[in-house]
Amino acid sequence: MRSLKTFLFEWKHFVGSPFKILAVLLFIIASMYGLHNGADLYHKQNAEIERINEEVETKKATILSYFKNNEKGPSEHPWVDITTPFWAIYNTPTYHFKNPSPTLVYNIGQTEQYGFYKLITTSSSGYDADMTKEIANPERIQSGTLDFSFVILFLLPLLLLVLLYNIKGQESEHGFLPLIFVQTGSKNWWLLSRTAFYTVLLLIVIFGLMVYGAMLTKVFVADTMFWNLLLWVTLYLFFWITLYFLILKYGKNTVSNTLQMVGVWLLFAFIIPATVQQWIAIEKPTNLMVDLIDVSRDKKSEINAQPIAVIDAQLFQLYPALKETKVAKDTIIVQKVRGYSSEALINLEIKKATQSIEADNRIKNELISKTYWYNPITYFQNKLNQLTHTDYKDYEAFRNNIRKSVDTRIKMMVFDTWNDITIDKEKYLEYNSTLPNNAYY
């Protein structure tokens, strides 16, 4: 009962402190601004995807018009022949999208480090130039967008600090702490009740803000993500409450408590993550993608310079069923067929090179994960990234998805070429339905 009274009395403390009210208001304003930033990016990416889909439809219509008019391609490019599998597939516009999750409203995460759409060709890879981030001001990306997760991860502990810093210390400085202990019975329950008030207050504020965010995008459509996010944000809040509670419990006065709280915040928000990042950069310096460069130039030339028999043998090893095709059984060797088919062998080398890059990156990620037990902000940050599909791993999966699509495309092109298939309108439409634009969350 006494604890409940203390809890309710804290409301009077709170409304009597303009500084604390201002801090909460600033927190709400920053959160709303952050939520709108996330929502803006969500809508911007969706609009871009829609625009690209429209472009794709226009391109398809142009190609279909060639079939209708019995043309082989654009008159200014006389070498194009869309009745051949290579050019027909080349002109089958396929994009892969990393569709933004509606939960982007809460957390932009690593979204701005990567591209979110990719034109698939037979020579594409997940590390092509168009997979790089959208055109943006690097100084803004470096300082980070003020999104809701930034507010939660970095400003929430500061808000808590502002709300809690003078609890116990103020009473101690005025000399009526013993009186309070006599009146309330237990100093721990008194302290707990007061901190519990601010915990509840912040939980209500955060829940309200998250509901507001949910109105900006279709968050509730994305299954239970809202509640998962709320759970993790609550856990994060409790993490800081516990730390600050311990400081208050063992602290002597307001100034020393404030200093300790700021110190802990600086340690977790700045010093530890920054040291970890520095250490990882030393352990594993930035990959300059030399392996990939080698494949795109020397390896490619090497493959194309091989004798036809060697290329054939390699292709048969890659696709055993290719031996059964019309061209393979034919004694007349068509040079061009092998020219286009070598894309499959180059793709194989690209995959090997990207696998080694991904393995390198995986080592970095493992190193980061190992620091989680003493690097809580990075842990929560990556947890939020994971929940909102804005994590490195989501983009890795997006790249894998692209790789699979390229594999399918090449295989189709090689087999149809070796089966000497002539492409007509129906076959072109079949290509479009087999190689559609693909969305990945």
């Binding site: 997979m131 790089t132 100084e139 003020l146 100034v255 700045f270 990075t378 490195y392």
Partner: protein, 469 residues
């Protein structure tokens, strides 16, 4: 005043907590410089290996058609910079690899940040991180009760009775805390100079001098404001919380909000829009690979007329190469237009952000810190421009060889030998000199000076109203 400063320092040095914090903090700063330098040197090694590897591939070309070589192209890697061991700026988020080839100006790709999960929202442990975020907090903690303590203990009254003027006292308190900041700054700069004594150049010395000056100005603003609040408010806690509030707003809120807003006010095109617009403009020009293109035919007629011959086979030069260079020249005007437009937008964004220094000196500090350490977007853009200029010279050299090297039009099997490819110079990055870019930071410096003057005015006029007891 000197006596008061001396006294203040005597008090500070006597405090074990102060000494402990100073020793611990100096150790972290030393560590940040050591790790920063080590990391840059390691990255430099990776860069050099990649650069040598790509160059080796180029000079090993036995024989190749010059235009095929233009497609084969080369790669430029963004070099590391020892100055960025003090402030990394945008280097973590910009790409590092740029493909140099014919027909197209590529974008730089493969940033460090994209190669792993998120770690630190504020970058690596560089001295700038400590100097921008943590040292000001330390100064606030040292200064927040400097006057209020004197008031509460009654020493202020005693000092005034002994003849000390409140204004002198406040300035002395400000300067004594400020000197502590300067001491930390000097420690960092000295350690940096010792670690890099063999690489110091005039440009680096000037840059670090400017770096030092802007941080000194910022620390003066922080110390002055804190001591002012300490004098104005009766309670030290109010002074502390006020300054903490200002610190949060200055470092956490305003820079993020303003930068995001500047990007909305002056919007950059999306990548797809940007590429489509360039493709559209490019299609209006000459297509180097298409002899039947209308503009190619026009160019052919013009060249034939110039040489007074009837067909390209009679030309003493290779018209294919000429068409390729005409294609490049047109392409260059398209790249200049579109990439130039992006650069202009980025400049507008930067200028708007710089104006934020009117309300927030931290913005000016961040801008100058990155700028003087050659790691801001301005220096990044200067690097990209250098690469593009190199690309144009590189491709022209190859096209000129195709035109005047002795081959005939249509002879695509004609190849140049290894000696020619060896003679093509490699890209050499020329670091941007501070004199070339200093004017871009004058607004930031001016705003920080104005802020310092404002703080002095606040102290001079504000302290007239302070209560001695």
């Amino acid at each position: 005043m000197f006596q008061i400063i001396k006294n203040e320092w005597r008090f500070l040095v006597r405090s074990r907590i102060f000494l402990g914090i100073t020793i611990a903090f100096s150790a972290i700063m030393l560590l940040s410089i050591f790790l920063g330098n080590y990391q840059i040197k390691k990255q430099e090694q990776t860069y050099q290996n990649a650069k040598d590897h790509v160059r080796q591939q180029w000079v090993s070309i036995d024989e190749m058609n010059p235009h095929s070589a233009a497609h084969y192209g080369t790669y430029v890697f963004k070099p590391s910079n020892l100055l960025s061991s003090l402030d990394e700026g945008v280097n973590n988020v910009t790409g590092n690899v740029l493909r140099v080839e014919g027909h197209v100006q590529n974008e730089i790709i493969h940033s460090e940040a994209s190669q792993m999960q998120a770690v630190s929202r504020f970058g690596k442990l560089k001295p700038s991180l400590l100097l921008q975020y943590i040292v000001p907090l330390l100064l606030i903690f040292l200064a927040f009760n400097s006057v209020s303590n004197e008031k509460q203990s009654g020493r202020l009254k005693l000092l005034v009775l002994q003849g000390a003027k409140p204004i002198q006292l406040i300035f002395a308190k400000t300067l004594s805390v400020w000197l502590y900041g300067i001491l930390l700054l000097t420690f960092i700069m000295t350690a940096y100079a010792l670690f890099n004594s063999q690489n110091l150049s005039t440009d680096i010395v000037i840059r670090t001098g400017l770096f030092f000056s802007t941080y000194s100005l910022y620390y003066f603003i922080i110390c002055g404001l804190t001591v002012f609040f300490s004098a104005r408010w009766q309670n030290a806690t109010v002074a502390l919380t006020s300054m903490l509030g200002i610190w949060i707003i200055w470092t956490m809120f305003i820079p993020n909000i303003l930068m995001s807003s500047a990007e909305k006010w002056y919007a950059l095109p999306s990548r797809n829009e940007f590429q489509s617009a360039m493709t559209e403009d490019r299609s209006k020009g000459l297509d180097g690979h298409n002899p039947t293109d209308k503009r190619s035919i026009e160019l052919k007629e013009k060249v034939l007329k110039e040489y007074g011959v009837d067909s390209v086979s009679q030309l003493p030069i290779n018209f294919d190469g000429m068409r390729m260079q005409a294609d490049e020249d047109y392409g260059n005007s398209v790249w200049d237009k579109h990439f130039g437009n992006n650069r202009a937008i980025l400049k507008q964004q930067k200028q708007s952000f710089q104006l934020g220094g009117i309300v927030n000196p931290f913005i000016s500090l961040q801008n100058t810190s990155m700028g003087f350490m050659a790691s801001d977007n301005l220096h990044h853009q200067a690097f990209l421009l250098q690469v593009e200029n190199y690309r144009r010279v590189f491709i022209k050299m190859l096209n000129d060889k195709q035109i005047f090297g002795g081959s005939k039009t249509g002879n695509w099997s004609w190849k140049e030998d290894n000696a020619f490819f060896k003679s093509v110079p490699d890209f050499e990055y020329k670091p941007t000199q501070i004199s070339e870019v200093l004017s871009n930071y004058m607004l930031d410096i001016l705003l920080m000076i104005l802020w310092s003057i404002l703080v002095i005015i606040l102290i001079v006029y504000g302290t007239k109203k302070i209560k001695i007891i």
